[in-house]
């Protein structure tokens, strides 16, 4: 079970700030493909990968990051703080 978090318009498209997901995917990209297949809300949220960022256990990561031992994944658009 992985805790999956969504922020900003990713959260709005999916309609939830977080959820617990059971996955057999080996990487972040595998998880995204699982989610896309699940529902069109996910397909919409993950449509444009260039405007998507991911954090694995609260550190920025690449889509090829492995999921083994990971507790928390977050998906969000490019940051706009400051």
């Amino acid at each position: 079970m992985i805790e999956v978090l969504y922020f900003a318009w990713v959260r709005e498209r999916i309609g939830a700030p977080r959820e617990r997901i059971e996955t057999e995917a080996a990487t972040v990209m595998g998880l995204i493909e699982d989610l896309r297949a699940r529902d069109e809300r996910y397909a919409w949220a993950f449509a444009d990968m260039t405007s998507l960022r991911v954090a694995v256990d609260q550190e920025l990561a690449g889509f090829d990051a492995p999921l083994a031992g990971v507790r928390e994944i977050a998906f969000f658009p490019p940051m706009t703080g400051g």
């Binding site: 978090l5 922020f7 900003a8 318009w9 959260r11 954090a55 609260q58 550190e59 920025l60 977050a74 969000f76 658009p77 490019p78 940051m79 706009t80 703080g81 400051g82």
Partner: protein, 146 residues
């Protein structure tokens, strides 16, 4: 070195004075303050979302990186989240060093990283509706100079 993430407004003046007084041996203090731009009254508010848990960790890592690059005597980062009105201060950075070049460089470095690597997202609320602020290419490009 201090990192503050809060919903409440902060007092730029009080924080600046305390920072300058506490920066023993410093010859140079630089502050940057980011404000909600009031575009002729068109912008009514800004909503800032963040990633509790990751936010302070990410900012602390940036401050540590700045300290590794420049001989800083002190550094402060304050960033708000939640709803802010036009003209309100969103965030501030302060750096103290013996000479001005280090204080300026560290403040600009922290700002460039905060803009594009700290987990904050801004939504502009105007009379036309709400819209997520898009990341600016110029902000991503700014990281390349460090």
């Amino acid at each position: 070195m201090r990192v503050i993430v809060q919903a409440e407004p902060f007092d730029l003046g009080a924080l600046s004075n305390a920072f300058a007084e506490g920066a023993g041996g410093a010859g140079a203090v630089v502050t940057f303050t980011g404000l909600v731009r009031d575009n002729g009254g068109a912008l009514s508010a800004m909503e800032i979302e963040h990633y509790p848990g990751m936010t302070e960790k990410a900012i602390t890592a940036m401050v540590d990186e700045a300290r590794a690059r420049w001989a800083l005597l002190d550094a402060l980062v304050v960033h708000r989240y939640g709803r802010l009105a036009g003209g309100e201060a969103i965030m501030m950075v302060a750096t103290a060093a013996r000479h001005r070049a280090e204080a300026f460089a560290a403040a600009e470095f922290l700002m460039d990283y905060l803009k594009s690597r700290a987990p904050f997202w801004k939504k502009e609320l105007t009379s036309d509706g709400a819209e997520w602020v898009a990341a600016r290419e110029v902000d991503e490009a700014a990281l390349k100079r460090w």
